[in-house]
């Protein structure tokens, strides 16, 4: 279950708006709807046409911004960011948007993704005298822009983008322009919409619904979009390549009410559940899903199998940064933090427990145990994705290959390790077809499947994989 792995449970979210009187306010609500993508920090930078002003902080959007602070961010253009918690890179400095001021103008940057070659680029820049203020790979992009000899900012940005390898969705704000860029493979979702006369851009379309905006189109892989007082312009900085959007966006990250690359996430998940029911049916009394990502899947599974869908697991909300961890003694006494089983639902029943994935296997084992202790007679685990056998280098902080339980164990071995009565994963084909990718065409048919197949859409990753393995 992705949600339980530290650093795996979230991904950043970005939001931008151009041409709206209350730009910062709209961004606040937009970021709020993207809060599930990152809960460690949040920030907004606005332009009033002459200067950039920003505010950011650690915590939830509602913790970071007070009414007064939001009022001070006046201006008709804004970009915002919600940040997810990573192991090494915490701290106020890394909260985005990053704001770089210079005597020739300012740049604010909001980034969702992961640059595969960031460390290498950073080393080279430092050797040439650059000073980094953050440990974020986002800052590398800023230095590349400033180092570029190109005559205009737009050209500098294009040069800099071509240095980057990996997954990235960038919003860049200056005093007078906004730039939007997506990596050439389109790993991350990024959509454009309209709110009256204003342009909006967001990681997920749920942000459009929340602020009352209308969806227009996806940002294309390799595209650079410029918005200024003259209008909106789309250019390319890289050739078009087949999109390889992250499969996990459908399986785990995105909100069910979002459309990702044009496909509704709830519907996609329900289809995953239906397909899973066809691929791996089981005789049981109740179907339950691990909240929140597997609710839709479980509903689909129940619909096809005819087994009643029930709330067999409840998520304890309000578990944030400030939650106090239980002592070892309390943990052993059975204090539960994130999930509780519903005894009245599962006691004496044969339970199908649907989850999104198995990473190390420890969480799955814990949930199976929990259900048995609550009286479940049998526990059948159904996973709405194929086994994860390879690490991700595009922004999902998976463990090394060795730690991935599926990289070295058969399904039957895994079943025994997590203590389930039966275990089944969705097939590669099942995943793609349920989401709606046509069977013919390119290798990836629009989605990155690297964590399931080891076939990485960019070059550097094979080397990174070797380094990981050797250590």
């Amino acid at each position: 279950m992705l949600a339980e792995i530290k650093g795996l449970n979230e991904e950043c979210g970005i939001f931008g708006i151009w041409g709206h009187e209350e730009a910062a306010q709209v961004t606040y609500y937009g970021l709020h709807s993207l809060q599930h993508r990152g809960q460690e920090g949040a920030g907004i930078v606005v332009s009033d046409g002459e200067t950039l002003k920003g505010h950011k902080g650690l915590g939830l959007v509602t913790e970071v911004f007070s009414d007064g602070q939001l009022q001070q961010l006046n201006g008709a253009a804004a970009i915002g960011h919600v940040r997810y918690a990573t192991a090494g890179g915490g701290g106020y400095e890394n909260v985005q948007p990053l704001l770089f001021r210079s005597q020739s103008g300012s740049i604010a940057l909001a980034h969702n993704g992961n640059l595969v070659n960031a460390a290498e680029l950073k080393l080279r820049l430092e050797q040439q005298g650059s000073i980094f203020q953050t440990t974020s790979d986002t800052e590398v992009f800023a230095h590349l822009i400033r180092r570029s000899m190109a005559p205009t900012l737009k050209e500098q940005i294009k040069v800099a983008l071509n240095y980057l390898e990996g997954a990235f969705a960038f919003l860049l704000l200056t005093e007078t322009e906004m730039y939007i860029a997506l990596d050439p493979q389109g790993f991350r979702p990024l959509s454009i919409g309209r709110l009256g006369n204003a342009y909006v851009v967001a990681s997920e379309t749920c942000a459009f619904d929340v602020v009352g905006a209308v969806y227009e189109r996806e940002v294309e892989p390799g595209e650079l979009i410029i918005i200024n007082k003259h209008g909106i312009y789309a250019e390319r900085y890289a050739e078009k390549r087949p999109r390889s959007i992250c499969s996990m966006e459908y399986i785990y990250f995105a909100r069910p009410d979002s459309n990702v690359d044009g496909i509704n996430v709830h519907t996609a998940r329900k289809n995953l559940g239906k397909r899973l029911a066809l691929e791996a049916p089981v005789d049981a009394d109740v179907v339950t899903g691990v909240p929140d990502s597997s609710i839709s899947v479980a509903i689909g599974y129940a619909e096809v199998t005819g087994i009643p869908y029930e709330l067999g697991l409840i998520k304890n909300r309000y578990v944030g940064r400030t939650f106090i961890q239980p002592s070892q003694a309390l943990r052993e006494q059975g204090v539960k933090m994130k999930l509780s089983p519903v005894r009245g639902v599962v006691a004496g029943k044969r339970v199908v427990m649907v989850d999104d994935s198995i990473v190390r296997g420890t969480t799955s084992r814990r949930i199976v145990n929990m259900l048995r202790e609550a009286g479940a007679k049998e526990v059948h685990v159904r996973i709405s994705s194929p086994p994860i056998t390879h690490p991700c280098f595009y922004g999902i902080d998976t463990p090394t290959k060795e730690e991935l339980i599926a990289s070295a164990h058969s399904v039957e071995e895994m079943r025994q390790m997590i203590g389930a009565d039966s275990l089944a994963f969705l097939s590669h084909e099942g995943l793609l077809e349920a989401i709606g990718r046509s069977a013919n065409g390119s290798l990836f048919r629009g989605q990155c499947m690297a964590c399931f197949t080891g076939e990485y859409p960019t070059n550097t990753c094979s080397q990174l994989l070797e380094q990981t393995v050797k250590q």
Copy 2:
């Protein structure tokens, strides 16, 4: 929809533990699982056998307590409270447990409920020179205890309890004893369990599951339970009367994984949905429930009708005390705060929208509108309770009779007012039978139905109703 009415959406929660080394820590996790019952404030008081120490504050449990503060609350007995937001009674002073110190010993009080005759008792006490520090009715109980001439604290408490009318579940902690009391009608849920050798008590059984405790039994109406170093003793301070537990605990308040008066809430709600499907079926494409209370109901409705259950409405989480309200202009542009429709699910569909109740009707109208704007072809509203025609005086902050839409309008009038294609409520019988109350026996058959029928289980309320009407 109860959740949308200010002050209607929550109810207090209480938790206590006796005989556990980490009493405050366990209480913290217990309160955390009761957070849905009150989000305005939280507090814990512990006894180490010699003194009482407490900490409380405004905000969520995780906001009020830091690790250091919790560490300082050492002792083997503790009571805690989460408080819901009321119109008039906000502020730090009213956050519970209330702690009263005197030269003859201290008393800490945590209370869930509402005393019908609090104002009258308070006036009499003030005329005799008592000074109140809070506007909470809980303090009245403390003054009655202190004023009592009875020779022992236990007798003083019994005398005081007999002055009270209304709904109350009290936890009272002194340096050396814990007292647990429930009102003679048993309006509020209150259960007792064991955690190893320790005794636990909580508003809902979900708290037992979260801390690893085992359920033992309900506290009985009119019962006074005493725990001290000699053991646990149950006495009665009032005669046994038929229980009239609040129907809204099943319909709205309690967590689906709790058992209330022995009945699992998720199952009860699913049964409400099944019954509703039988009483008011409709030809439609999707069933959706207003989160969180109506999810289970919608699943039941879908199961019986065969219409697919879908996530048609998404709740925006993390909307707490610190959420910044949108300006009027943004509101008109369509900024949504608590609920978003899932366009991909409802567009072009005939939608059954299941909700728990209709109070003023404004929220229902807003949700119906929202669904239509997201493309729903038809919207059929199904309510999992009968029409609310009378105010509640037992702790649910309903508006006056005049403001209750169902007190003066027919179902057809209400349908037009909220703009639905059809509207149906559950019947009185349907409600009771779905929850599992046998048809024969007392008037209320174990549940308070006053808000649906106007038949109040205590005397004073008829007078209060008249006062309300006249104003």
Copy 3:
């Protein structure tokens, strides 16, 4: 040196205003000028004619109030309080003004002083069922008022005042009136002034200068002053007795720019120094005073003796509640917190060190050592008050008789204990005459000299003294 004894270094301060549009703002500046009298907490309560509103908190006036909070305290009448730190009575609850609400109206109370019979009164009130929320003796007064059977609030207050024994200066605010009362001996200073058409009242006249008000007169011992929309009325609740204002106000507490009972404090202190020079001259190179209270004294001593006055000791400012205490190791290495010697001024010199008092003797020894380590050849200590031989029961938190060094030791013994080359105290006569009390007349000639003589102006104290001695 009074400043170094925990709890001895401060005393509360009160400020009130009636009839000014910005009452809370003026009170803020008034309290700020009284900050030297109490740095643990501060609070303001205002009346807008219909309700009382208040804000209070732990810390300095500038820490407790933000601009926004002050803006919310609208109303034309206000009372405020700065609180000093005592050993047992810390905590938010005890910060004043205390605000007592009831259905018959509210009362806010600000108090400077100490009630000698508070514990006895509190016990009796609790036995009759009263509940106390604070450990402050101020609350006793509120309960006495509420318990009184007198028909009007004014009469109730008079009855309550007659129960009290000790030192007290009270400000009491209701929705429609302000009451000002001083104890029958007038232990504490309290003055009345005018600010345009508004009335102001303050513990020290420096507050009048800071807010631009004009001094009118002292509140008389035993007087009760009422201000309401009809005007200002002075009554008596007790017979006139000879005033016995606390000597320490001149010696230590008050700001040099205040007039206390009509006498300027800086001038009084300078006169103490002049008298000390006549009573105990010495051959030396420099005169230095312990800041802040002994600066004026040292200047006077220098003027008469002709020895140059120098800054030989510097006070480290900004030492507040949040100051981190040095570890024992650092303390032994010589880390200084409150005072630093000025090496360049004292090295190689014979130094006269002027201080206000000697309590336990430990601080004096530390300062003498400090000066010697900084190179002073000789250190001659001159104290601007007689030896303190008896504890105070009127608000100055002196240690027990046994801990007072002067209660059991001769001047020569004390000289040896503090390590000075010579030591001299001011005489009783010298103290009174320097301040300007005429030699004839009553025993105390207007000042309380109890800590120097053991002759307490109220009865109960002799008994308290015995209790202290016996323990």
Copy 4:
């Protein structure tokens, strides 16, 4: 009066220690004693030999550091900084020490002074692609180090120092070394001492007294001192030039108990007062000084003239960042913020008011008015420095030449403008001789007198002056 001009009233302070188990704690007390040099922000960075850790924040030292935060800063080497408030450069980012991390090691920087050519250097660095995170000139130094091609850090630092022009005292900490550098003219004070086996360095010697350290010597102009595990080494990066320490350190900035360039500040100020008495005597009743800087001066003036020294003006303490400014209406009613006159001292008297300087003249006029309103018959103003006719470019944020009252007005004109009965400044010779600079020798005889004479010790300033004038 310097204290009243925004940005003029303070200057930064730095403190460092090498080889002490509680390095951060000692730095805390050292910074606390330097708090008068900067009250906007504070920070400490420590090295434990392997990594640098830091904490910093806006506010006073006691506000920025909690006990817990200080405990986490473990390590045997530390540097710290207190920052003064400037107009443009506020904000968290600019609080020092600045910490620059890179893959080849980290650098922390604490700086007191002002680089005259910072803007020019920054522009050049930005043109070459460097990104600045702060608006502080300190960051320029870090970039110059990183850009240097020299083989060792020491050599890189020397190269970088030679680019700088202006006033600077730097502390630089790496994981394994501390560097101390003073500009070639020695504008700012910087002293070295010993605390047991540890080395300490501080802006003022009062920090040594407070932490129990022993003064060793001044850091010399143009010197670079390196401390590491092998010992302490002094080198030169620039030729020795005659020192031109800032005159204002004696007149205004430094604490009276500090020795600046070997001269005690209190003694120097008293001598300024004595010389002023000889140069500009007057027939009067009392002498009073504007606190804190002019107290010593007034004492010296009184000693020579025989006119009694009195506390005629009182400073309101605790006026910090959080102080709420009075409304215009209250200001007009006479609410005083920083200074109060002592009516009892000045009423009916001919007053000599001693101040440190006149900048714009507005503050002097206000004080003269204040004294007259308090009843002073005559007010004679005596200034302990010559007229300020030229702006400072070395760290004192003086206004432009045009705004300096003395640049365009005669003493008689100024007297009329401030409303005094007489006005006199100290002569150039008087200033130098009173402080103890021998009459022969170089132009400046050890002190920078540029603000009085316009003769700047560095080249660039004449150009800057012209720019200022033209604008």
